[in-house]
Amino acid sequence: MKYAVHGIFLVLLSAIIGTSWALFQLNNINTNTSFMIYNGPWRVNPVMDLSNHFQRALIAKVGLFALRETEVIYFTATMDNEGNPLDSEHDYIIEGTVPDARYWSYTVYGDDNFLVPNPGKIYGYNQETIHFTPQESDNPELSEHTQPIYTMILSRDESDHNWLPSGQNKQLAITLRLYNAAPAVYKNLATIPLPDIKKVP
């Protein structure tokens, strides 16, 4: 009888420890990203290795019903260029060029991983809605071949220029989705040009 009680206690204790440790790891993604590729403040899972149970669990948690990497590449940024977490207390300038993909978009998420509430229902920008920075040059050939650039402002306060509302969040995440990206993107995930995220002093 005594051993049965010990056995039940051991099993229960082990269940609590094992389950808690698993949930802790899933909730602390920043400490479990050995399979990620980093590109400045952006990280990406290059291959959704669904035979890897941890990856599969992580994808279910942070991106339920995400598409395979052959269809969409998901870059995520939760920190600025200096490695500081993105939050609503600060403003950020995000400057980038056009990714080489059939379709691309930026979306901001709050610390609950849902869209940030705001009266204007502005949740992100895509290739159709973003305003590019006018580039003036006296050289028509240069103007023709220069990559268009854009600047977004991630801020609690409204801005006229590609404003991304940050709401009231202690941790923000920006997702850059590339649909049907060019082969060169897949080969150079760590080095393709991705936007800088700079905190406004």
């Binding site: 942070v62 019903f65 395979r68 869209l115 049907n180």
Partner: protein
């Protein structure tokens, strides 16, 4: 002392086992949680398409929703019969058909450029329904790893306008699903 050491080793071993079980079944739990949330709102849950307009801040069914898309979704159950899904989609915009297992693995995805036309006509079958291998229909047969899963059809909305959204939604509402 020996007993304490033995119990500690057993505890470590069991804990690791529970850790692995949690990680392995976590996606199934997430899927089941989603299934229950949808079931609360929709009594006819299986083999029926639901149309979802572009998500906003009130959309809390799935984390990190993409606000640039409208969706048609359905839980499928082919334990008794395969199902056939058909639809006519708009030209010149991205759309895709994706299928998921209950452990959330995306085992099939095809976008508009990979279909022969703006129409799709698919039969979802598992291996038990061998007679449909002869395919009396003109549909393409997609083999489901199991008897249940999830269908998600995405349709890109290039901008958030009510007119465009209504136009795109009319394509999604044309999608049919039938047991065969």
């Amino acid at each position: 002392m020996k007993k304490a050491l033995l119990y500690t080793i057993i505890c470590f071993g069991l804990s690791y086992g529970f850790y692995e079980l949690t990680i392995f079944y976590y996606p199934n739990l997430v899927y089941y949680g989603f299934y229950q949330k949808v079931a609360e709102m929709n009594p006819d849950l299986e083999n029926t398409f639901r149309i979802l307009t572009a998500p906003d801040e009130d959309s809390r069914l799935v984390v990190k929703p993409n606000p640039d898309f409208a969706y048609a979704s359905a839980f499928y159950n082919i334990s008794e019969h395969p199902i056939r899904i058909k639809g006519i989609m708009p030209n010149e915009t991205y759309w895709s058909v994706a299928l998921y297992q209950p452990n959330t693995i995306n085992y099939f995805v095809r976008n508009d450029q990979e279909f022969d036309s703006s129409e799709f006509d698919l039969i979802i079958s598992n291996n038990q329904n061998l007679q449909y291998e002869n395919n009396i229909y003109s549909s393409e047969i997609i083999h489901s790893p199991g008897s249940k899963g999830f269908i998600l059809i995405r349709l890109l909305l290039k901008e958030r306008s009510e007119v465009l959204e209504q136009e795109m939604l009319s394509f999604l509402t044309s999608i049919s699903i039938e047991a065969i």
